[in-house]
Amino acid sequence: MDEYKVYERAFAGVEAPARLKEQIMRMGEEKTKPPHFVRRLSTVAAAAVLLLFLLGCAVVGTVYGQSIQSWFAHYWQAVNHQAMSEGQAAMIDHLTQEINLSQTVDGVTVTVDSATVGDDNFFLLLRVEGGDFSKRWGYRFEDMTMEFSPDPTEADDGLGGYGFQYQGLDGDGAALMLMDMGYASSQGFQADTSPLEVTLTLTDLVESGGSHEKLLTQGTWSFAFTLDRSQIPAPVSLPDTTIEVMDQSREFIVSVAVTNLQVTNTGVRFQYGPSRAAMDELRVTLILEDGTEIRDGGGFGTGMEDGDDMFVSYQWPVPVDLEVAATLRIGDVEIPIP
């Protein structure tokens, strides 16, 4: 076996898809006006996610409930192998707002069902009905845009994004999609409890999987709604700390000062310096009183407006009741939560 020839043959012609290349080259062209919000191209087939829920679930056929709260409850059960506590469920209820906006185009009805809102991020549950859906394929919209007012990008040079995940079909055969949005500001976190006006535009419903890609319904669905940010609980501030991480050159260890550390029901954010620290591999974990660990689900970071520090904002994959949060772990450092 000639391994060189095997690899040459296997990867000859393997290139980033044209669509992805176009998106990334456009990022560079728009750099004079920095892309404050970017759409994460998450088009994950949901087969294994469904499997995750079906295995061990007593109820088969109704994988998800009728709201984003039900989705979080099922997720919690599947990942933590235990039911969500009443306190946890109550907290998610508190953060969740019914949107219930529907629009029908060519027989396909898209509903923005509900939103779970944090102070610098939110989740949206979309339900799509009327399409000829199959469990074999995944579903997405060819294009999605979100606009905000007030627009946090007007004040600073931060970075944010919205992600999209197809979640599978519910018991009624509707396609469920979860969107999430997060943002990190170059001025650090700036509290804003004013209503957030969101305009969501979805274009062309596509069925896909492997080499299969089919335009299911051509059309544009537009929604305008308001998210109330006045009832979001205050964050918990934690003391500054120092962590040891590798420098980006991976040649030596750097002591990183972590400051302005705040934990919220939906994530954690902090400032750190120096910026050359290789924070890429850093994971942040919330440890509950019963030992349950909630690892961060990703986030955003940006250079601070002044100085060399970076500001990062991570999102929990499911909102968490801080009343039962015991410790925050950043890298190897654990900080008790009062």
Binding site: A10, F11, V14, G28, S42, V44, S211, R276, D280, E281
Partner: protein
């Protein structure tokens, strides 16, 4: 920060490399899309310049590896890859290429990237160790075991005719 021209030049030159590294790490074209985009976003926001082309290339590989690790451990990102998904990565009716790609991507994760970096990108053991933060002895072991598994895999593929 990089200028528009610098970013575009690096993206043009290394986008496919980043995508292939991501594909080797995560094993799925859809996830490789995500990793590639996140890696290029980090490049866009990179505050410090690069000392050389090779420095930039290695930085991109390391970031792609780190982004892949983050994605693989994200709770919502678990999914199985179908043969049809892999077939979509290669154009046309390149059946042999698809079978070979399937074979290399079906290797256990810890062997895939060292083998790719060694046999396709031409990096030496020590360089791979630096890129992946592994000891050279570990890389050598992984290359050897990866080769054995690949040979077995390809024997099975050829046996199916």
């Amino acid at each position: 920060m990089l200028t528009n021209r610098e970013f575009s030049a690096l993206a043009e030159r290394y986008l496919n490399l980043v995508y292939r590294v991501a594909l080797n790490c995560v094993g799925s074209p859809a996830d490789a899309d995500d990793v590639t985009q996140n890696t290029m976003l980090r490049l866009l926001r990179q505050k410090e310049g690069f000392q050389s082309e090779e420095h930039a290339k290695r930085w991109l590989i390391r970031v792609a590896v780190n982004e892949s690790k983050r994605l693989l451990t994200a709770p919502w990102r678990r999914h199985t890859v179908t043969l049809e998904e892999l077939a979509a990565v290669l154009p046309g009716e390149d059946r042999e290429g698809q079978e070979l790609l399937e074979a290399v991507l079906s290797l256990p994760g810890k062997y895939r990237l060292p083998l790719y970096l060694y046999y396709y990108e031409g990096y030496q053991v020590g360089e791979i160790g630096e890129l992946l933060s592994r000891r050279p002895s570990t890389v050598q072991t992984q290359l050897a075991r990866g080769r054995e598994l690949l040979k077995k895999q390809l024997t099975e593929v050829n046996g199916r005719g």
